[in-house]
């Protein structure tokens, strides 16, 4: 009799425990996934999820566009007419469209704005300023010159700085206050920029720096940081430059530019010294703010695009049978 009773209680206990466990598990499942087959059809479920997704994304979008309180980033891009120009500007604009509060200052190396760039910028969806400044003939690279012979883009970048200074002088009140926090970045049209880079540079007090990939004959060049300060630069090419850093490797606060009206790029500077010619007016190495995880991550790459081979086009053009020049490439 005793044995039986014991067994009975054991069974009852076991039954209760397993039932409770089952209920608990079902409740867990029920919360996590609504796809229990008969309850809701799959399509209903999908559209319900999508609806929710859309709502949330709309919410995030409106939040993003409300993001007017983050410091502006002014990106100065010198550009010049060549076959790949439109392609380069196109993919660059795709990157910039993701960055809030970005103002693109495009400076053409041309006597006047070209229709290609004018139309392109108008259709891009970006906030932009379209400038132009022709490089004097003696400073310009000639056809066949290697790219390292003369520094390129100095006049155009200076023109961008001039425009910023003009804007700074004219601004007042809230606008002027916003300019105090803004940041200026020099972005060439053939480099590659990650989106994170812009968030790293957004809060720059003086001059912030970070590594640049695929430059200086190496996988990357970077500032060397010790105790949170930049002590030297890790580069294999002319490390004895005052600032052995690439144009894509630093950003300057607009405030610093506005308070140093003499700071500009020296178009006569030796190749590789262009950045130094500008930065030496503004900071010393101690003032550099290291970004990108204390300069250990590569967030920008100094890519270069090949010049497309035009042998057949040239041959055709000689015969007067070249491709339709009205088709913009």
């Amino acid at each position: 009799m005793r044995m039986r009773l014991r067994l009975k209680t054991v069974f009852v206990l076991y039954f209760m425990v397993s039932l409770l466990g089952l209920i608990y598990a079902l409740m867990q499942l029920g919360q996590r996934c609504d796809c229990r087959g008969h309850a809701m059809s799959k399509d209903q479920q999908i559209s319900q999820l999508r609806g929710e997704l859309q709502k949330l994304q709309e919410h995030i979008k409106t939040e993003l566009s409300k993001k007017t309180d983050v410091p502006k980033i002014y990106v100065i891009t010198p550009t010049y007419a060549r076959l790949v120009q439109k392609a380069e500007l196109t993919r660059l604009s795709h990157t910039f469209l993701h960055v809030p509060q970005l103002h693109w200052i495009v400076v053409e190396d041309a006597p006047q704005p070209t229709p290609l760039v004018t139309d392109f910028l108008a259709a891009s969806g970006l906030t932009y300023a379209h400038l132009h400044k022709l490089t004097p003939k003696d400073r310009k690279l000639q056809e066949g010159d290697p790219s390292w012979l003369k520094p390129r883009g100095a006049e155009q970048r200076n023109e961008g700085l001039r425009w910023l200074r003009e804007m700074g002088a004219a601004a007042e009140g809230k606008e002027a206050a916003a300019l105090e926090e803004a940041v200026v970045y020099f972005a060439d049209d053939d480099n590659t920029y990650s989106l994170q880079l812009f968030e790293e540079m957004r809060y720059t007090y003086r001059v912030s720096v970070w590594p640049v990939g695929l430059v200086g004959g190496m996988k990357f060049e970077r500032p060397v940081v010790e105790d949170g300060k930049v002590v030297r630069f890790h580069t294999g090419w002319h490390p004895n430059r005052p600032f052995p850093i690439d144009m894509a490797g630093f950003a300057v606060s607009l405030r610093l530019i506005l308070t140093n009206p003499q700071a500009r790029f020296d178009g006569d500077a030796q190749m590789g010294f262009l950045e130094s010619s500008f930065l030496q007016h503004l900071v010393t190495m101690d003032d550099f703010e290291p970004k990108a995880d204390l300069c250990t991550k590569v967030l920008v790459w100094h890519t270069r695009t090949e010049k497309p081979k035009m042998k057949r086009e040239d041959a055709l053009q000689k015969q007067g049978l070249g491709s339709d020049p009205d088709v913009e490439v």
Binding site: C33, R50, A87, R91, T303
Partner: protein, 336 residues
């Protein structure tokens, strides 16, 4: 009487467990396990639930891939998935080299603007590399990550261009096979397949042009064939009748990989159509696939009857890494 009681007791013990097992089976766990195992080629597909949950469990066999909303500050979300737009499946073969991460980054920045885009990235490698895995995850794009290694004899050796062995062929074929295994021809999944190399430049307009493809659509491509652009020849009736190229215009389809898109239904309808691997002359790779799918008459010209350039066959220079020297100057742990 005791016997009945015993039977009752046994039933009461077994019942909860059978209930549990059946319900568990129907629930998310089974598909989750299936996904985790993956297929033979080692695929990783992105199936995520809506924003309400961030748990690891996925809802059952949801072929309508719903991408998760990311709250990171870095990337904006891809546009909301639409019920109406056909999905564009972009097949990109890629391989490791110094500029790879840069190329994929700027490509991703472009794709993030295109609604209903599904990126099928196929690595030419033995295993899926951490670099690409991480990159794909961080973009927030809807993607499928595959890999297949081109056997040594097929690979291009260094800079020597052997035009008989086109690069990326095995990778593109693997993606086609994945599509055929994933989608069955009866499904109402509207999709377009596009082959996008990782160094080209694509305008956003291009993707909207290709979305209306019924069979195979074509358009001009800049910087190919030694010309400013190559283009299909379109007659007054809006039909393609030839090719405006200098390099072998008598190829069945004298068009670059970036110059056409195929409707997914056609890919599924002709499951034997693949890019030819061996014995393909330079410039004939595209023809090796297209001739099994369409005739010239079926081609749909896009980009304003093939008068606008919406895609550029750009090539990125190989970076000169002389200063790395033999032992490497920079920290090899830093990813570029």
């Amino acid at each position: 009487m005791p016997k009945r009681r015993d039977i009752l007791a046994i039933v009461l013990i077994v019942l909860p467990w059978t209930l549990l097992i059946t319900v568990w089976h129907q629930s998310a766990i089974a598909p989750l396990l299936a996904i985790r195992k993956g297929t033979n080629d080692g695929t990783e597909t992105r199936h995520d639930t809506g924003p309400a949950t961030d748990s690891k469990e996925y809802c059952s066999q949801d072929k309508d891939i719903v991408e998760v909303v990311r709250t990171e500050y870095v990337y904006t979300r891809p546009p909301p998935w639409s019920d109406v737009l056909p999905t564009i499946h972009v097949i990109t073969p890629t391989y490791s080299r110094p500029v790879q991460k840069a190329e994929l980054t700027r490509l991703a920045n472009t794709f993030l603007h295109v609604p209903n885009l599904h990126w099928i990235l196929v690595e030419d490698s033995q295993r899926r590399t951490p670099l690409v895995t991480r990159l794909l995850r961080e973009t927030g794009l809807n993607y499928t990550h595959l890999n297949v290694e081109t056997p040594r004899n097929y690979k291009l050796r260094g800079d020597m261009r052997d035009p008989r062995i086109p690069r990326g062929t095995m990778q593109r074929n693997l993606a086609l096979r994945w599509l055929r295994e994933t989608f069955n021809s009866n499904s109402s999944q509207a999709g377009i397949v596009y082959f996008a190399d990782d160094d080209n430049t694509y305008s956003l307009e291009l993707f909207e042009e290709m979305r209306s493809t019924r069979k195979v659509s074509v358009w001009p491509v800049a910087f190919v064939g030694g010309l400013r652009y190559e283009s299909p020849k379109v007659n007054a009736a809006g039909k393609v009748y030839g090719w405006k190229t200098v390099f072998d215009p008598h190829r069945p389809f004298a068009i670059d990989m970036a110059g056409f898109a195929i409707n997914l239904r056609l890919i599924l309808f002709k499951p034997q159509a693949y890019f030819k691997l061996r014995g393909v002359k330079g410039g004939y790779q595209e023809s090796s696939l297209l001739r099994e799918l369409v005739t010239l008459n079926d081609l749909e010209p896009k980009a304003a009857n093939c008068t606008k350039i919406l895609v550029w066959h750009t090539r990125t220079e190989k970076p000169v890494l002389v200063n790395e020297g033999k032992k490497g100057f920079t920290d090899p742990n830093v990813e570029i």
